[in-house]
Amino acid sequence: MSMNDLIPAIKKVLEEVDVVLGWTRSPAAGVAVPARFHTPDEADGAIFDSTCIHNLAVHLPRLKNSKVGIVAKGCDARSIVQLIVEGEVSRDRIRVIGVPCPGVIDVKRAWRCYGFGKKIEDAGGRVHMEGRSVPREEILLHKCHQCRDQEPVIVDLAAGDVTSMTPPPPPDKSGIRERFAAMSITERREFWREQFSRCIRCYACREACPLCFCRDVCSMQTREPHWTGGQVNAIESEMAQQVRISHMAGRCTGCEECERACPVGIPLMLLLEEQNKIIEELFAYRAGASLEDKPPLLTYDINRDGGWR
Amino acid sequence: MSTIPKSGINAKIPLLPERASITRVIQETPAVRTYRLVFDDPGMMAAFSFEPGQIGQMSILGAGESTFAISSPPSQKDYIQFSVMKTGVVTTAIHELSAGDRVAVRAPMGRPFPVNAWKGKDIVIAGGGIGMAPLRSLLMHLLDHRGDFGRIQAVYGARTPADLCFAGDREEWERRDDIEFIATVDSGHPDWSGSVGVVPGVLESMSPPPANAVAVTCGPPVMIKYTLESLEKLGFAADQVFTTLERRMKCGVGLCGRCNVGAKYVCTDGPVFSLRDLRALPDEL
C-alpha cells in the first residue's frame, strides 16, 4: 500500500465524520505516532507503515459524542468489532478505513535492544536500524506471526488491497513463551512473583487496552469494591492484574497493547494468550472475530440459567 | 493573611495522626452527624488551638482519612468537633461510629478566616447545608468576641427544615439580640414557621450595607454562585467577600498534589480565600 491510497481514503471519510484516527510520523522519533485528522490538510500528514503499532480503537469509547473514522489494521478491526458487539461503540458513528498490514515491528523491543530512537527501516525482509540489521521475523510483534486477521472484519473503505496479504512466518521458538510453557507450576509462581515485583501500577496496561472501558472505576484502583490492596508490591499488583485479566475473558482480542504499554516489560500476554486459548477451546469464540457472535460471558441469562447455587 | 497556627500535630510529623476518642455523636440531619472528639493525650488537648475556618483530617484507621471543617469554636477547649455528611467510603464508616469509639485526627490545617483583620467591621454570613460547619465555628468565635465586631447578620439555608444542622445553636442565635439570624429552607413543611426561600434571596432581603463590612459564604456550589451575585448586587467588592473551598485532599500539607487550583493548594493556601484571590486563580473549580 502507498500513501496514495491512504490519504485520499481519509479525505473521503472526512466528508462524513468529525475526525479520523490515524498515524503520522513523529518528527523526533521517526516512527509512527497516533494522530487525529480533522481537515483534508491535516490528512496529508497521514502515514501507514510497519511502525503503526498502536491500536487506535482505544480512543473510540472516549469519543462517544463524535462521528469517527479510524484507520485499522486487521487486528485493530477485531477490537472495533468487539466494542460494537458489547454495545460500547455504535456501528453508525464509525467509519473503518482498512489497511493491508504486513505485520508490525515491536518498536519498544527494537529500541530497548538496539537503542532508543534509532531510525527503523523495514525493507527486503529485514529491519535496519542505523547500521544494524535483523531478519524481520525476529523483531515483529508476537501477534503478527501467523496472523489470522490480516483482512479486517469490518471495512467501510479499503486503502489498498486488504485481501492478499501473506501471513508473516512463525516466531522464533527460543523465546519466553517456550520457556514459560516448560515451567512447573512452582516455577511459574516464582516467575510471576518476580515479574509483578517490578509493576509500578501505572495502569498503562489498562489505559492502552481498547476493551478496558471501566477505566475510571476499574477494580485495580477503586476502593469500591475494595478487591485489591493499593500497595505497590508483587502480591497486590499481581492480584490487581489478575482481576483485570479475568474481566478480559472472552473479550481480549490479543492485540498486545497492554504488554506493549507496560513500561517495565511484564509479559502480560502469556496470561491473556492462555486465557484466550481456553475461551476458544471451550466456546469456539474469538473476541471480535464476527459482528454476529455473542461473547460467552454475555450469554448468561438469569431467567434461563438460574441464579447462583 | 494571618499565619497558620503551629499547634497540634502540624508541628511534629504531619502525616502521623493523633489518637482521639468520640465523646458524643449528634444526629443533625438524616445525612449529617456531628462528632465531638477528645485527643487521648490530655496534653495534646490542652495545647490544641486553631482559628475559625481551619480544617482537620479525621481517620477511621483501616477505612481511611477525610477532610472536614472544624465546626467548634476556638474557645471550646474540651473537644474538637467535625460535622460529617455521609457520602463516600470513609464518611459512611464514620457514620457507623458512636461515643467511645476510637479515631485518629490530624488538625488544624490550612489558613483560617482573617478574623483579626475584621475587627471593627460588620460581618455578613451566608451558609448552606453542611457548608455551615466552618461558619458555625466562625459565628461562635465572633459571638465570643462580640465587642470586637460591628453588626452581625447571618442567614443559614437548607433544602428542607429536616436538612438544617445545629438546632440548639440556631435557637440561641435566633434568641440573641446582638445578631440578626435567619434560618431558611428551599421548601417548607407544615411544622416550619420560619423563612422559606433560597439563601441569596433572603440575603438580599436583609440588605446588609457593604460599607466597612465583610461577607463570608460557604455552601453547595450553586448556592455560592448565586450568593456571590447577590453580594455583588448589594455592593460588596471582591476583597470584602470570603469563602472556603473544598477539594479532594490527602496529605493536608501541600505536597500530595491533588487539591491545587493553579499554583495554590487549597489545603495550605486555603481553604479560606477572598473572592479577589479566587478570581486571580485559574478557572478550575
Binding site: 489505559e207 513500561p263 | 504531619p14 476510637r102 490527602k250
Partner: protein
Amino acid sequence: MRFIAEDAIPRLLEHLAGGGRTVWAPRVVRDSVNTVLFAPWSAGEPVETGAYTHLSAKAALLPPTERLFGFGYLQAAGEERIELEPEEPEESPVLFGARVCDARALAALDALFFPASGGFNDPGYAGRRSGLTVITLACTTCDSACFCSSFGKGPAETDGSDLILYPVANGFLAEPVTDAGSELVRLDLFQDSRLEKPELAVTARVETAGLREKFIDLFSDIDLWRQVSEKCLSCGFCAYACPACHCFNIFDEMSGDREGERCRSWDSCMFYSYTLETSGHNPRPEIAHRYRNRIGHKFSYFPANRGEILCTGCGRCIRGCPAGVDIREVIRTVQER
C-alpha cells in the same frame, strides 16, 4: 584527576555495601524486554553502566509504596484502644549510576520532603536522604529523547551528586563534588590519571523562558490542551518514570480485622480518580484538564512556588509513553501560541 577501571566497579559497589547499606544500581531485568531499572544490588550481579534506566532513580528515596505507620485495635480491660506504630526510618542508601538528570531532581524533592532543605518533616524521606551517597554517571552520549541541555548546565550539572564518573577508555575519571565524594576517590580502587575529561553530550533543547506566564495566559484555551493531549491515554507512566514527579496517595489497608497499615503510594495527576470528589464532581474530568495540570505543575506552578522547573529533561516520559506523547512537542506548541 582520579581514575577507576571498569572492572573495579564491582569492588567499589562491594565497598559501598560494606556497612550493610543498600546500593541501588542500574540493572537489566531478567525476562523483561531489556528493561533497565535502578534496583538494590547484591554482590555478583552485573551492573549496566551504558543504558539509561527506564524509570528514574527516585524509588530509592520515595518508594512506590511506603508504610507510614502500622495500627492496631487492642482490647484492654474491656476497653478498645488504638496503637500506632510509626515506621522506623531506613538507613540511607547509595545510589550508583544515577544520571545528572536524576541527581539534579533531588533538589526539588528535598524542598518538599527534607526539613534541612525547607521541606516538611517526613521521617521516611529524611532517613533515606540524610546520608545518601550519589555516584553519577556523566553522559558523553545521549539519545533522541534527552533534553537536559535545556536546563542549567545540562549534562555538566553537578547538583545532587557526590561523585561524578566520566566514561573514558576502560573505565571512568572520577570527580568528587562533596566531601563524601572526595573520601571515596581516596580508596585504593582509584588511581591518579592524566586523562582529560571527555566531551559531554549535547542534547536536544526546549525553550522554557517565559513558559510560567505563558501557561497562565493559555490556561483557559481548552482546545489547545485537548489538541496537545489528544494522543494521551491517561495512564500514570510519565509521572512514575519522572525523577521530579512526587505526588502521592494515602490509604489504609487492613490485614485481618484488628490491624493494618497506612501507606503512601505514588499517584499521578493523569488519573481520573486523583481529583474525583465523593460528590461525583471532578474539577479535572477530561484528559485535557489533567494533562494541563501536569504541564502547569512542572513549568508554571512549581516554578512560582519554589523557583524551580519540575523537569530535568531526562526524556524518560518520552521514551516510554505508550501513546507517543512527547512533552517537548507540547512545550513547543504552547510556546508558539
